[in-house]
Symmetry: C2
Subunit: 339 residues, 2 copies
DNA sequence: TTGAAAGCGGTACCAA
DNA sequence: TTGGTACCGCTTTCAA
C-alpha cells in the first residue's frame, strides 16, 4: 500500500541512499537526479515513514503537552496555538489532561517519555520538582507554561503575573475605588504573582490591604464560581466594605458578581470587579466583566518557538523565561466615572 | 541512555526473542524465565521503543483527532474524554484543530495519515466526502463525530440531534409557549437534525412554524452570539411576536437573550429561551440559560471505544452509528408557570 | 556525485 | 520452551 523509498529508487534506477538524500535536500546530489526523484515522489505521493526515521535518528518529530484541564479555555487556547506552531515545522502534538492531579500528571509524563517525544510542554499541577528531575534524566528538553517553580531553573513561557495583578488593581484605583480587595487563587506561581501585583499597586499609592481584604478563593481550578461567591460574601460582611475587587480568575469573578448583586448592591457603582483570563462570553454576563487578558494564543506560539529551538539546538542552552505582557479589557463591571 | 531488550537479554543470559515474548505475555515461556525477565524490566524501568515496534508491526499505537475548533467547549470536552479512553489502552492521541477550514482539515488528514496513525477521529468541516475516500484508500479506519454526511456509510458517534430539537421545543410548548420560533445553525447535519426535531415537536401537537419563525443564525460556528442577536431582532419584529425560541447553540442563545432584554422584554415571561450545548457558566448569565446537554464527555468515551474496536478487529466490520441521548437542563430562561 | 553495507530496536517465523 | 535469522524503512558512514 504505502510507497517506500525502495519503490522510487527501483523505478528510477538509482539507489535508496540517493532518494533519501534528495528528501532531506542534501547538497551532494546532481540537479538532474534530484528533479527526477522529486517528480516521482510527487507522482506517487510519497510520505516518509516517520517510525523508521525515528528508529534511526532517535527523533520522533513529536512533542507532548500536558495541561491540568483541556476544557479550561485558557489551556485549550494554548494547546491550539502550540499545535499550530509545531505543525508548521512538521511536528505533531500529543495532548493529555492531568485533571489537576499530580499523580496522574506523573504517569502522563512517563507515558510521553516512553513514547520518546522530542520535547515536553507542561502546565504542571505538581507541588514538587521531582518529576522534572526525571525528565532531565531522560535528557528530554521541556518547557513549563503558565506555572513556574521556585528553585527550578527551567524554560518557561507565561504571562507576567505581577503585571496582571498590578494592572487590574491599578485600574480599580484609577476608577475611583478607595478600598480594593483581592480574592486569591491556589498556592501556585500564578496566584502568588497576581497577589504580589495587587500589593505592589496598592503600595505604589502608599496603601496597604485592609484587614481581611485578601480572601482565599479556589483551592483547585474547578468550580471557581462557587468559591468566588463564598469569598465575596465574606468580603461584603467586612466593615468598611470593599468598593472594588480584583479576582484571581474569571470564574471567581463571576461568582463574586453573583454575590454582590444578590446582596442588593450595584456593579460597578457600589463594587467594581475585575477578573483575569478574559473568558469567552465575559461580555454576555449579567454585568459584562472587565478582565485581564493573558493572550493565551500567543503563549502557545511562544512555547512552540521555544520548544522548537530546544530540539533543534545540539547543545543544551541555559533555560530561558518568556513573559507575555497582559492587557486589560475594560467592560461595564469596572466602568466608573473617573475612567 | 535508554534500556533495550538486548540489555536485559544479555544480563540474564537469554535471547532477545525471549524477552520480547515476555513483554507481550506470549504463552510459550517458562514461568521462571518470565519472572526473571519481568523483574529485570522493573529494575531497569524498561520502556519498549514504540518506533521500532511500529516499524515492524505497522501499528503506531496512536490515534489522530481533528476538530473544527479545539477552544470550543464541546470539542475540548470530547477531546478530553477521547484522550482518556484511548490512553487506558496505551494509545496516544494527536490533536489538531482545522479552524473550520475544509482545506486546512484536508491537510491535517494528510499529515496524520503520513504519521500512520492507527485510527482517525474527525469532526469534519468538509462539504464533500472526498477526504474520507482518501482515508479509505489508505485503509485507515476512521470515526466521524458530531457531524454526519448523507450518503457516506461511516462509523459515527454523536448526539441524536432530532431528539435535541424535539426535546427543547417540546419543553417550550409544555412551559406554555404558544408561538415557538427557531434560530437555525449552518448547513451541517447537527443543525438540520435539530431543525427537524423542532418541526416534529410542533407537528406532534398539530402545529407548524409560522411564517418567518425559522431564522438563519450562524453561518460558521464562531461569534454565534452576534448572529444570534441579529436573528432575534428579526424575530421580535414579527407579528405576532414569538413567545419562545429554541436556538441552535448556546452562543446564539446568549445573543438572543441580549436582544430580548434590550427590547425591554422579560425572559422567560415574554419570551422563553432554550439553547443547546450547556456551556459552562450558562447559569451565570444575565438570565441563567436553559440548554440541551449533549454529554460531550460521553461522546468522547464512546468514540474511543468505537475507535479501539476498529483497530483491534482484523476484519473491517460494517460501519456503526452510536447516538448519545441528550438531556435537558432547565434554568430560569424557560422556567414558567406550567412547568 | 553516487551507492554498498551496517545498523536503529523490535517482531515473526520456523527450527532446534 | 527457547532462540537463530531475516527483515520492517530509513539514515549514516565510508568507499568508489
Amino acid at each position: 500500500m504505502a510507497v517506500r523509498m525502495k519503490d522510487i529508487a527501483r523505478d528510477l534506477g538509482v539507489s535508496v541512499v540517493t532518494v533519501s538524500k534528495v528528501l532531506r535536500n542534501h547538497s551532494d546530489i546532481g540537479e538532474e537526479t534530484r528533479e527526477r526523484v522529486l517528480k516521482r515522489m510527487k507522482e506517487l505521493n510519497y510520505q516518509p515513514n516517520l517510525a523508521a526515521r525515528a528508529l534511526v535518528t532517535g527523533r520522533t518529530s513529536m512533542a507532548g503537552l500536558i495541561v491540568p484541564d483541556l476544557t479550561h479555555p485558557f489551556f485549550a487556547q494554548v494547546a491550539k496555538g502550540l499545535s499550530q506552531g509545531l505543525r508548521k515545522k512538521g511536528y505533531g502534538l500529543i495532548i493529555s489532561s492531568s485533571e489537576e492531579d499530580p499523580e496522574l500528571e506523573r504517569r502522563e509524563i512517563e507515558q510521553l517519555l516512553a513514547r520518546r517525544v522530542d520535547v515536553l510542554i507542561i502546565a504542571s499541577a505538581q507541588w514538587t520538582v521531582e518529576s522534572f528531575r526525571r525528565i532531565e534524566e531522560c535528557k528530554t528538553p521541556y518547557v513549563l507554561i503558565d506555572r513556574q517553580f521556585a528553585g527550578l531553573a527551567a524554560n518557561f513561557v507565561g504571562v507576567d503575573d505581577v503585571a496582571v495583578g498590578a494592572m487590574a488593581t491599578g485600574h480599580l484605583l484609577a476608577a475611583g475605588a478607595k478600598r480594593v480587595a483581592h480574592i486569591r487563587g491556589p498556592e501556585v506561581s500564578t496566584a502568588l504573582g497576581r497577589a504580589e501585583g495587587y500589593r505592589q499597586a496598592l503600595a505604589a499609592r502608599g496603601l496597604a490591604p485592609l484587614a481581611g481584604y485578601v480572601a482565599a478563593g479556589a483551592s483547585g481550578d474547578d468550580r471557581g464560581d462557587v468559591s468566588g461567591y463564598q469569598a465575596m460574601r465574606r468580603l461584603l460582611a467586612l466593615e468598611p466594605r470593599p468598593d472594588g475587587v480584583f479576582c484571581y480568575n474569571d470564574p471567581i469573578a463571576m461568582g463574586a458578581l453573583k454575590a454582590i448583586l444578590e446582596a442588593g448592591l450595584r456593579v460597578p457603582e457600589d463594587v467594581a470587579v475585575v477578573g483575569c483570563g478574559n473568558v469567552l462570553y465575559a461580555e454576555l454576563l449579567r454585568v459584562p466583566l472587565s478582565s485581564v487578558d493573558q493572550d493565551s494564543a500567543s503563549i502557545g506560539k511562544q512555547a512552540a518557538r521555544l520548544a522548537l529551538s530546544l530540539v533543534e539546538s545540539k547543545t543544551r542552552p541555559r533555560p530561558r523565561s518568556v513573559l507575555v505582557k497582559p492587557t486589560l479589557v475594560v467592560r461595564q463591571s469596572s466602568l466608573r466615572q473617573s475612567v
